[in-house]
């Protein structure tokens, strides 16, 4: 049984259909990298998985349970309550392109936010857990700094630690290095790589092709709201079949010829 | 039915007076606006002067206006000037009083706008050989204008509402007309609503016009 299963996902924003029937599976411990040009619906798909967006059609299952909607006796879709959705999100961690750290709290307090306010841990317990995670992402010495004093790469690592503090089953990464200066990208990718080695189930949306080739177990290429190609990196990146993918790889790989 | 007909007739009889009062309100508003804008432009340079001798009096004046009620200022002019031998009309007293207070706020808004334009703009301009005055005219001022248009507009709407205060010294503007009508008749809520609607129309229109100007200026820049 797969950890994440997406079946025939369709989503429209008003009249604009951004997801036109997306289906794929992620096994436990697997790392799936999603590539694609902007507007292809990758972020939207990610946001559907952790229920930040609603969707009109399709099923999403996390660890076997159907999430987001229920079907009643007559086969109609009923959206789940916000509380149920919130509970689901405890198990699905998400890291954003714009970090979204809470500016009015220190880095440590940011990481403590989940354990303290959602899991209901005691303050001391939450604190030691947070310190451990800060150490894990290499920022133990920055615990009492406010986000405004941290570099983009540091903020993003704190954001990862913050999500990990909820001990999620799955981690979603939405172009987490796209807003960073090039020299700061490496430190974030290192943390993600480590998580992959530790067996975290992850879906990573990114433009970093070499990283995708290295870390991804499965690559999905999306364009125009559908999956055009999918498969292991050796096949998809080394031997792309569709023209769109070839164009995409050429554009993004060109920057990394030295990698 | 009888009540509605009665109200309708009353308001209908009152309408011309209300329009007249509205006209005075607009007159006071526009005059005060013009005066305040002029005053603020004149005081802008002194306010930002390096010399404390020039700057401090202007700063004190602004601080005074900021911390005392407009009504008092209007009273001071209205009751004070005759003692000095001047006998301006209530209309003039009201306009000057309002202008005096709002000039202070406008100066601060303009100053804020100018200071918010990055120093780098000045540096860039001087790097291509532009003199200070030209820089101000072609680089700083246009950007300032765009930035201050919002707060400026808000201040002008406040000014329009402040015109109601001149009813205190007997100017027959809209609020005064309404007040007198209410004191005389029994249908006060309807009169209040009629007066309110006039003001609402004025402030809404003004707000819409200002937003339009803001958009057009932004487009041109």
């Amino acid at each position: 049984m797969s950890m994440i299963e997406v079946k025939e996902l369709r989503k429209s924003f008003g009249a604009l259909e951004v997801l036109k029937g997306v289906s794929f599976q992620v096994a436990k411990g697997e790392v799936v990298v999603v590539l694609g040009p902007s507007g292809s619906g990758k972020s939207t798909m990610l946001r559907c998985i952790n229920l930040l967006e609603d969707y009109q059609h399709g099923e999403i299952r996390i660890d076997g349970s159907l999430i987001g909607y229920r079907t009643d006796g007559n086969g109609r879709r009923i959206p789940r309550s916000e509380v149920e959705n919130a509970r689901l999100r405890e198990q699905v961690g998400m890291v954003f392109q714009s970090f979204n750290l809470f500016p009015h709290r220190t880095a440590l307090e940011n990481v403590m936010m989940g354990p303290l306010r959602v899991r209901g841990l005691a303050r001391a317990e939450a604190r030691s857990l947070a310190l451990e995670l800060m150490g894990k992402v290499g920022l133990a010495d920055k615990a009492d700094e406010y986000p405004i004093r941290l570099s983009g790469g540091q903020q993003q690592r704190v954001a990862i630690a913050r999500s990990l503090a909820m001990t999620p089953k799955v981690m979603l990464f939405d172009e987490v290095t796209s807003a960073l200066d090039p020299e700061l990208v490496g430190e974030v990718l290192r943390v993600i790589r480590q998580l992959a080695q530790e067996g975290m189930t992850m879906i990573i949306v990114t433009h970093e092709i070499p990283f995708a080739r290295d870390v991804g177990d499965n690559i999905i290429f999306m364009d125009g709201g559908v999956i055009l190609e999918a498969g292991p990196p050796a096949k998809v990146i080394a031997n792309p079949s569709s023209d769109r993918l070839k164009l995409f790889l050429r554009r993004y790989q060109g920057d990394y010829l030295t990698t | 039915m009888d009540y509605l007909a009665q109200t309708f007739h009353l308001l209908r009889a009152l309408f011309p007076k209300l329009v007249e009062g509205f006209g005075i309100t607009v007159g006071v508003g526009l005059s005060a606006m013009a005066l305040a804008l002029l005053g603020s432009l004149l005081l802008l340079a002194p306010r930002m002067a390096k010399s404390r001798l020039i700057r401090v009096p202007v700063e004190s004046y602004i601080e005074l206006m900021r911390n005392t009620p407009l009504l008092l200022q209007i009273y001071l002019i209205y009751f004070g000037l005759p003692l000095l031998g001047f006998f301006p009309s209530e209309f003039l007293c009201g306009v000057v009083g309002i202008a005096l207070q709002h000039t202070a706020f406008l100066v601060e808004i303009l100053r804020g706008g100018i200071e918010s334009i990055s120093r780098r703009q000045w540096e860039a301009a001087s790097a291509i050989g532009m003199r200070r005055l030209a820089t101000f005219r072609y680089v700083i001022l246009p950007q300032t204008l765009l930035r201050v248009m919002g707060p400026l507009g808000n201040q002008l709407i406040i000014l329009v509402k402040d015109t109601s205060l001149v009813s205190a010294i007997g100017v027959m503007e809209l609020t005064m007309v309404g007040k007198m009508a209410i004191e005389r008749s029994a249908v006060s809520i309807e009169i209040f609503m009629a007066v309110a609607m006039f003001y609402l129309a004025l402030t809404t229109l003004l707000g819409a016009v200002l937003r339009l100007i803001e958009q057009r200026t932004a487009a041109r820049l």
């Binding site: - | 911390n67 809520i189 402030t203």
Partner: protein, 231 residues
Amino acid sequence: MLHTLIANLPYLLKGAAVTVWLSLIVLTFGTLMGTLLGLSAAVGGRPIRVLVTAYIFVLRGIPVLVVMLLGYYAFPTLGLTFGPTLGSILGPIFGLRAGAYAAVAAAQIVYVAAFVAEIVRSAVLSVPAGQIAAAKSLGMRRAGILAHVVLPQATRLAVPPLLNNSLTAIKQTSYISVVGAWELTYAAREVVERTLAAFQIFLGVMAIYFLICYPLSLLARWCEKRLVVMH
């Protein structure tokens, strides 16, 4: 040179006391009411949002004097006299007509509330959406997000405009004199009409207002500076 002012100072200071007292009442209840309205406009359902937005729009578009006309002249004709409850806050203390004060105080409270509501609503809505997404992704519930993410930041954003608004509200209490309620400005005008010492009295009363308002003005500016540092 200032003997008229000095001679009438006790009377004027009594007026100042009314002004301060009224300001406190208007600011307390107005801020409370406005905060509740602003929060409901920001996080509430569609009907509440529409109602509060309309309320804010109307009250911010008309002069406070007009609202006071309603309270002072119009409501008594409907039999709404406020007298006992609200008026008893002010009346007995200064032995003045309780009903009048209650009416204008209520009008000013309702007016100030509209401005406070707009400030609060706008502050809550300007907390970046990304943070709410991040909080949701941690599994936080609505109440938690409001309490730990939105409100702390919204409060910081709202304080400077609220302080400036309070300054305006204090000066606004002077307008009750136009509808005939007695406070500092009314007292000043009385004295001037009697003694004709316009400059002494009005400048002196301006000094009194200045003493009341200036500390608040400084506080507002200090807060503004401090908040720029945070973000």
